[in-house]
Symmetry: D5
Subunit: 111 residues, 10 copies
C-alpha cells in the first residue's frame, strides 16, 4: 500500500560538520537501499527547499515507521504522512504504463 | 517537468444534483484523457477525503495551468502546486524500473 | 492495521430538515454496522463539538476510504487520517487486557 | 473518564547522549507502569514521527496532569488533550466486545 | 472538575429573523438555568466579538457535552474545550476567597 | 476589569538548573502575592501542558502589563491576552454567588 | 485606555443591495459619531482590503464592547482586539506633540 | 504615508547580558530619536508581551526599511508591516483634532 | 513605489452567470487599463489557482487602495499586500536591463 | 519560465560573526552573478524584514533548485516557491514595455 511522505530536513547549524557529513552520506546509502528493494518508488526534491516528496510502498504503517525511523537523519526530519487509496478515475495501471512509454517517446521527439 | 498537485474538491451542497453528476462524469473523462496522453502520470485518492494527490508531467507552468483549469470541477478545486526537482539520492530511474519490476514480483510472492 | 480518524461534521443549516434527519439516522445505522463487524473498534464524541475521534481497523487505505466514503454524512465530514504503528513502549496487548480487566474492577471499587 | 492525548516529543539534539538514553529508558518504565495499572489503555506510535496517540482513563484532569507531568520526557513533550464523551452511535460496549472477539477471529481466518 | 470553554457564535445571516430571535431568547434561558445550578460558574463576553469565555464545573466530559449540546445555539457554536487542573502556585481557595473579599473592598475604596 | 491570560511557559533546556529552580521559586512567590492582593483571581493549570489559564482583575492594560512583566519567568512566557466584558446572559453575580455556595454544598453531598 | 482593533468586514454577497447600502450608510454615521466624541481616535483603511485598523480610547472592555456591537455592520465584522499599554521608550506625549508639529512643518517643506 | 508595524522581540536567552543591556539601551535611544523627528508617531506596548504596535509616517517603503533595519534590536525583531490608507469614514483630521482636545478635557473631568 | 499584491479570487457559485461574465469582462478591461498606464507593471497567474501575483507601482498606499477597490471583482478578491523596498544586492536596474536584453537573446538561441 | 520565490533569512545569532560576514558577502556576489545572467530578473527587499521577494526565470524546477541551493545562505533561507503562468488579462509584453517607458517618463514629470 502507498503512503505519501513529505519530509522537511533541518540539520542544526551547530552540529559537528564531520558528523553532519557522515549522516548525509549514510542517509544517501540507506535511501538508495530502500529504493532498490522497491519500497520507496518515488523520491523527489522540493525545488528551493531541503525537503522531499516521497511515495512509499509498504505492507503496513508499522513497516513504514520502521523504514522512516531507520533513516540516519530521522531525528532532524519532520515527516507528514498521507495514506493513499486507488482513485476511481485512475486509468488501469498496466494499460497506462504502455501509454506512458509510447507517449513519453512521442513527447521526447516533440521537444 | 514534474509538479506535485494536491487537490481538495468542495462541491457546494446546493448545486443542482444533475449538474453535479454531469460535472463529475465529465471530470472523469477529462482526467482520464490527460492520464492517457502521459501528462498526469500519478493520481491517488487521499484516504478519507474528497481529495487527491497528483503528479503532472508538463513542459511549463503555463501548460500545467491550462490542464488544471480545463478540469470541469476546477471552480470547486483548491489546488496547491509544488514544483519537483530531481533528488540527488534518487537512484537511476531506468535501473530502478527494472529493480522495481523484479522486487514487485518478489513481494507479491511474499504476501 | 489501525488508523486514527478525527472527523468534524458540518451539516449545512439550510439542508431540508427531513433530509438531515434521514441522513443522521442512516449514518447511525451504517456506523453501528461497521462497529459490529469489528472494523471501527473505537468511536468517541469530542466533548463540546459535533465531532468524533475514531480508530479504524482495516486491511488497507483502500478499505478505509471505502468505509468512510460509504458514510451517509461523508459529504459533510472533514476527516483527518493518521496511520498508527505499534509503540515500542506499549505493553503486550494480551497481557495488558488481563491487567486492564483486573484493574478496572479494582478502580470501580475504589470510586 | 477518557482523554485523547496527542504527544510530540522533541529531545534537543545537544542534550548529553547518556542523559537522553537514561530519560528514554525511564520514560519506557513509567509508561509501562501506567499502562499496567489501567490508566493508559491505548498507546500508538504515529507512523513516521517521534509522536504518539494515546488514550488515558483517569478520574479527573488533575489526575491526568499528574500522570503526564510525571513522565521523564515531559519537559520535551508537546501534548494536546481532548476530553472524550460517549458517542450516541457507539454500540453497547459489552456487546461490542463479544462481537469484536468473534469477528477478530473471523478476520484472522480471512487474511 | 473544571473545563475552559471558548465559544464563537456564528448565526447564518439568512436564518429567519424570528427563528434567530427565538433561538437567542431560549439560549439565554438555558444559559441562566445552567448558571443557577452551579455548573457554569463563569461566563464572560469576549470584547468586540460574538464570542464568550466560559468555565464549566461538571462531573465528567459526558456531562459537559450534554450541557453544551443542549444549548439552543449549539449548531452555530464553535467550542474549544480545555480541561483545567489545580495549579501548584494557586493559593488555598478558601483562604483566597477571604483575601479576595477583603481586598475587593479595599480596592473599591481606592478607586 | 478582567482579562483572560493564557500563558505557555518554555524554559530553555540549557538554562543553569539552579537558576531555573530559583526562577520557579520566585515565580511562585510573586504569583501568590498577586493572587493575595486580589488581582489574579483565577489561576488554573492546563492539563498536560506547562501552561496556565488565568484571569486578572486590574484597573488598566498598563497595570496588567506591569504585573505580567514583573513575573520572574516573563522572558520565557508566551502570553495571549483577551479583554473580557460582562456577558448579557450572565446572572447577577451576587445572587449567583449565593446559588453557587448552596449548590456546591448539594453537589458535594451527591458525589 | 487604548485598544487596537483590527476589523475585517465580510458582507454576504446575497444580502439585499438596498439593505447593504443602508447598513453602510448607517455604519458611516455611527463611526463618525464615535470619532467625534473622542473614543475612536484612529481609523485607517488597510490598503487593498475591506478592513480597517483602529484605535479606541475607552474606560473599559465593557465600553469597548458596547461601542463595537453598536456598529450596524457588527454581524459581518471579524474584530481582533489587542489591549495597549504605555511603551517605556515612548517619548513624553506633550513634548512629542510639539516636536511633531514642528517636524511635520519641516517635512512638508522638504517634499 | 502611514504603515502599521507590529513587532515581536525575541532576544536569545544565551546572549551575553551586558551585550543585551547595551542593545536595549541603544534601541531606546534610536527609537526616541525617530519619534522626535516625527516619523514614528505612535508606539504602544502590547499588554503582556515583549511586543509593540507602531505607526510609522515615512515617504516610502525604502525609508521604512531603512528606519526599521537601523534599530539595534532588528536582528531579534519579527515585524509585520501593513500599509494604511485614508478611511472614507474618518472625519476630517483637523476638525477631529479640535474635537479630540475638547472631548479629552471633558472626559478627564468625567473620570 | 512598489507593492507585491497576492490576490485570490472567489466568485460565489450561485452568482448569476451573466452577472459573473460581465464582472470578468469588466475586470479584464480595468486591469488592462491600469497596466497600460504603467501602474500595474507585473501580473502573473498562479499556476493551478484562480489567483494572481501582481506588482503595483503607485505613489502611495492611498493610490494602491483606490486602484484595487476599483476592480470590478474587488468584493470577491482576498488581497495580501507587501510593501517592497530596494534590495541592497539588486544590481543597477539600467545596467541590468541591458544585460537582461542581451542574455534573453542568448537564452532564446540556446533553447 | 517564471517562479515567484519568497525567502526569509534567519542567520543563527551564535554563528561566528566573521563567518556570517563572509557568507553575506559571498551571497551578494552569487546573487548579482545570477541577476547578471538574466535568471533572477526581480529581487526586492520586504520592507521591515530580513526577507526578499524574487522572480526567477529558469528552464526547469531542476535549474531553479540548482540556483537556490548554490546560494551561500541557503542553509538559513526558508524559501516558498510559486510557479507562475501567463495571465489572460496581461497586456502584450512588448507593447506594454513601450507604454511603460512612455508613462514612466510622464509620471516622473508629474511628481
Amino acid at each position: 500500500m502507498l503512503f505519501l511522505v513529505q519530509m522537511e530536513v533541518r540539520i542544526p547549524h551547530d552540529l559537528d560538520p564531520a558528523a553532519a557529513d557522515d549522516l548525509r552520506a549514510r542517509e544517501r546509502d540507506v535511501a538508495q537501499a530502500i529504493q532498490r528493494d522497491g519500497r520507496w518508488p518515488h523520491l523527489w526534491r522540493v525545488a528551493g527547499r531541503y525537503a522531499n516528496v516521497s511515495v512509499f510502498d509498504v505492507d503496513s504503517p508499522d513497516e513504514l515507521h520502521a523504514l522512516l525511523s531507520s533513516l540516519p537523519l530521522f531525528p532532524f526530519i519532520d515527516a507528514r504522512v498521507t495514506p493513499l487509496a486507488r482513485h476511481p478515475s485512475a486509468i488501469d495501471h498496466e494499460t497506462a504504463a504502455a501509454f506512458e512509454q509510447a507517449s513519453a517517446a512521442e513527447r521526447r521527439e516533440r521537444r
